[in-house]
């Protein structure tokens, strides 16, 4: 069957279709699979603002560095965050000034560190979308149960629907969305129905291996072609092509826990500005566990010519940025999209021969 879908996508000769993937893991998986090179020229895939590390503003990184330089404080976080530029430097570079920064693979690793070193105040750099936010609720449960007083979170948590809404409202020329697969594991496929109805635009929840990508893209292309018929029949333009792990309602336990700990608020997306209701913050009753996450809105570029913001909005391809592949490479990233291994420029650089 997959060969059949692939053939359809190769031979497609209908109206031009532009699909946006709004998940950094999709950006990486699509680039790695080389799928773009075999699609019909009439099907274009563009990357959106789907890497939470890439869209964290410089003010957030600056605050992590500020804390890491404080006496007795250690920052722990995921590896990608160590390389993202603040207004003056990265977390990694701040180590040269004496900042205490440790990389971990899981937020749960910090529980052991906090227990073993009660004299150290640990702050976890907690970035993420809906996939990762529930993991922080499990960490918060553990902090409370273990009565740990030396572990807090500095959060930069963001939700997908407000930014998709913002893109559509801003007139992004898109025909459909490759909806984020692992965000949808938590939220369920019904999460996108209001947006699909508001903008009459198809959403297809898609997996990550090459076969799943082909099936998902085929499904979304078919939805684009049959859009009017589907709407006339009263169907919603949301389909789940990742049924092995995504359900209609998602992981309800995870969603309940998110609601227990967090509340929505405005959040700055790097290069895009403040999007109302797109952030999640610890509720006031849990402020004991918050290292000061609100209001970290400063958003500065380290290279004025960097066009990451337009790449993140799907307005230009990485290669259209004058810095791409010249002064901006994974070894000397000038902007956030080249920093994270899930950034679109990083992936486009790595797979530039595909």
């Amino acid at each position: 069957m997959i060969e059949q879908y692939m053939e359809y996508l190769k031979q497609y000769d209908g109206p031009s279709i532009t699909l946006m993937e709004v998940c950094g893991s999709h950006t990486a998986a699509i680039a790695k699979s080389g799928i773009r090179s075999v699609l019909s020229p009439k099907i274009k895939l563009v990357s959106g603002p789907g890497c939470p590390v890439c869209v964290s503003p410089s003010g957030y990184v600056d605050q992590l560095i500020h804390l890491a330089l404080e006496e007795g404080v250690t920052i722990t976080t995921f590896g990608d965050l160590l390389r993202i530029p603040g207004s003056r430097m990265t977390l990694n570079e701040s180590k040269g000034l004496g900042a205490k920064v440790e990389m971990v693979y899981s937020p749960m690793d910090v529980i052991r560190l906090a227990k073993e070193n009660p004299q150290v105040r640990y702050v976890f750099g907690a970035v993420g979308f809906e996939t990762t936010i529930p993991v922080y609720t499990v960490l918060l449960d553990a902090i409370r149960e273990e009565k740990l007083t030396n572990l807090q979170l500095l959060t930069a948590l963001k939700c997908m629907p407000p930014v998709i809404d913002w893109l559509c409202e801003g007139g992004a020329k898109l025909d459909g969305f490759i909806a984020p697969g692992h965000v949808s594991v938590i939220t369920g496929s019904s999460y996108y129905i209001p947006l699909a109805q508001k903008y009459r635009i198809p959403f297809g929840i898609t997996g990550f291996n090459p076969k799943e990508l082909v099936a998902g893209i085929y499904g979304i292309v078919r939805m684009c072609e049959k859009k009017e018929e589907l709407l006339s029949a009263g169907k919603v333009l949301v389909k789940n092509f990742y049924t092995s792990v995504v359900t209609e309602q998602g992981n309800t336990r995870a969603l309940e826990k998110m609601e227990t700990y967090f509340e929505p608020g405005p959040a700055v997306w790097r290069g895009m500005g403040n999007i109302p209701g797109s952030g999640l913050y610890l509720k006031p009753e849990f402020s004991l566990y918050d290292a000061g996450s609100r209001g970290l809105d400063d958003d500065q570029k380290i290279n004025k010519a960097c066009r990451c913001d337009q790449v993140l909005m799907g307005k230009i391809a990485s290669k259209e940025c004058p810095l791409f592949g010249k002064v901006c490479t994974p070894l000397s990233p000038q902007g956030a999209c080249m920093v994270s291994s899930e950034g679109s420029c990083y992936q486009n650089y790595l797979n530039r021969d595909n």
């Binding site: 069957m1 749960m108 996939t131 990762t132 499990v138 499904g219 589907l230």
Partner: protein
């Protein structure tokens, strides 16, 4: 960042953690978001099990595409 990998639960360590086998590599993962038992295939993200994996995706996809083709 949202990468999640499928593995198989080999044992429950306690009421908060399980051992998960990723092609022979056994990793400890938190169970706070999903109730699991040994033998379950699960999806793990950032050291935490976020969902159990069902096996019949291919059949469901065919049904979905048939439904789309019917329009």
């Amino acid at each position: 960042m949202c990468v999640a990998l499928p593995g198989k639960v080999t044992e429950l360590i306690d009421d908060k953690y399980a051992s998960v086998d990723f092609n022979g590599n056994i990793v400890k993962a938190a169970t706070g978001l999903v109730e699991v038992k040994p033998g379950d295939r699960v999806l793990v993200h950032a050291g935490c099990i976020i969902q159990t994996v069902s096996q019949d995706e291919a059949d469901e996809l065919e049904d979905l595409f048939k439904e789309l083709d019917a329009f």
